[in-house]
Symmetry: C2
């Protein structure tokens, strides 16, 4: 790893760029600090990322050798998608092996650690390249100790009505707006994509359950050392059949004074491909917000101070604005789509909302 | 391991027998299938377990060699306590090493795996003994798939107002009462002590967070293969600053049709030794019960059908009975102390309560 250099990344998204499963690729292109020199997806070779993410002029190539022939060739291969079943498909193996042989670092957020594969590890050693497995948990194994926030520190957690609807993006946009407003803000990455973007953090879903809350508590402590406004990336949703416990580890581990509810209007069922028949509908916002405050309050008082919408299912701007207005009226909370329309107004409302909370003012 | 033989156990509880931290020792003595031939605690050598657990005539010895000289010597050493800080103290190491040399198996529920210690592993191989680390997680790494219970299966989860107040004991007493009543019941162990008693299960707090709910779902499937009434051992509490996410993994992973709330009247603050000043009070029962139903209901409907009290802080039986009556009136639910006064009446009330639930009757 060369932590202080910007890498030149080739993002592997074979067969999936533009799909839901390529959210890591999207996140790194949108918010990462490294240069993305190309995306690898042979099914879209010759196209440009700008078609999918307006303003991002990045070629989509069909092979590793095509990427290596670019005027500004990559020095790292970032795995931007998750393989079905969690195991590396055979054709991915050969691309990863070839990339290492060509001197590229490999950056992965998969549950299966690339660096633990004897063949890849030997190749990386032989070619002097690094394999970074972002999901590898820290050696630290500590349960939560009930740590209190430092004086003057304000911790804000993004929560949501589903997985993969933008909790990380909202947190990053709010951090950007906070910094723009002159507020000393930090971002706490709790998932592999956030870590790829920010350079530190822990993929909390990979931590042993007993230590999940203790790890989040420790991450927030680090976030407080970096800023006065600590914006923590949430995970999953409290009503998700598979991931709700990770969500609660974030809520009770971070003990945020305030939460921002992220919601994707128009989505009817959970991101849960095992049961296509929409057995798990998306919650109704007002009672779901109240339940979050009740559950957080079991450990420390917390209030949902804003709603951040992902209005991507409404392509028309006017329609999206009407949806924002309607949900603002329904919840009685400051509401906006900070990714689409900018986060400055929402940040300003959040800042005001947090500073008025009795457990923040101390009254 | 000799799974079909009963072991003759020496339980190591050095310096802690009779204390809160020896709950594994107590659980195995009370509910285990193996013979316990002695307890090792040099601070209580010469005493008898019957002083602490009436009716259990088991000698407390001061050394391993004393145990080996018994007419019925042990063939296994079970670690009945957790060392402070999770690391093995040096004097425990020598006892474990001597036990292996003497041909004893070692049974441990520590986070630190005894079998991964090169010295112990080599000694066990040399002496033909086994090291069983109950907390070692399964290789299976699967997220929950939203599995439905089999037809006619009823799943009951014990939940509680704190850690270490008797959720496992209540589940075991209810299973015993169910079997006595002719109901085909199984017990699903979700912690290391339950596994030591039952011989199967998973210590859910040791599972990677992303797979905690999927693992519980899989355990319940196995429980359903063993019985029609599946009684799942709960973990932690939903308001515990360090362990609430494990509790939620049990609730959303098991999707129980009914829950039994375990509570220890007289306890004022959480079992949370980091903050002695009782910063985390025990919840008030009626709203806490309602919150459990709300939170469980985010994934599948569930009702708290009974309250199981641990009245050990009330030594006088009449007083304990008054407390039971008062909490029954407060909650409007069948209430008893099944460990102290027997579980038959409570089981009968639970059975009736579960069978009347609309999501069980299908009406």
């Amino acid at each position: 790893m060369r932590p202080f250099e910007r890498r030149r990344l080739l993002i592997m998204a074979e067969g999936q760029f533009g799909a839901h499963s390529a959210k890591t690729a999207y996140g790194v292109i949108r918010y990462g600090r490294d240069d993305v020199v190309a995306v690898l997806d042979s099914t879209k070779a010759g196209q440009n990322v700008a078609t999918y993410l307006p303003g991002r002029d990045i070629p989509i190539v069909g092979s590793l050798s095509e990427a290596l022939a670019l005027p500004n060739p990559p020095d790292g291969l970032l795995i931007g998608i998750a393989p079905t079943g969690g195991r590396l498909p055979e054709d991915w193996r050969s691309i990863i092996g070839d990339a290492i042989t060509a001197g590229l670092d490999v950056l992965s957020g998969l549950h299966t650690f690339v660096g633990d594969d004897p063949e890849f590890a030997a190749a990386a050693a032989a070619h002097g390249t690094s394999i970074v497995d972002y999901r590898r948990p820290p050696d630290r194994l500590e349960t939560a100790v009930g740590r209190r926030h430092g004086p003057g520190k304000r911790v804000i957690l993004t929560v949501g009505t589903d997985c993969a609807i933008g909790k990380m993006s909202v947190a990053l946009e709010l951090r950007r707006a906070a910094l723009a407003a002159g507020d000393l803000a930090s971002f706490v990455a709790t998932g592999q994509t956030g870590m790829m973007i920010e350079g530190w953090g822990v993929a909390v879903d990979r931590v042993i359950s007993d230590f999940a809350q203790g790890t989040v508590e420790w991450l927030v402590e680090q976030g407080e050392a970096l800023g006065d406004w600590v914006i923590v990336e949430g995970q999953g949703s409290l009503d998700h059949p598979a991931y709700s416990s990770v969500t609660l580890a974030l809520i009770h581990g971070a003990t945020p004074q305030a939460m921002v509810m992220v919601h994707k209007p128009g989505l009817t069922g959970h991101d849960f491909d095992h049961l296509p028949e929409a057995s798990f509908p998306i919650a109704s916002l007002p009672p779901f917000i109240e339940l979050h405050e009740q559950i957080a309050g079991l450990v420390a008082p917390s209030s949902v101070v804003a709603v951040a919408l992902n209005t991507s299912l409404y392509p028309n701007d006017d329609e999206a604005r009407r949806v924002i207005e309607a949900i603002g009226a329904e919840t009685g909370l400051p509401t906006d789509d900070p990714v689409r329309f900018g986060a400055n107004r929402l940040w300003s409302a959040i800042r005001e909302g947090v500073d008025a909370l009795p457990w923040v003012t101390g009254t």
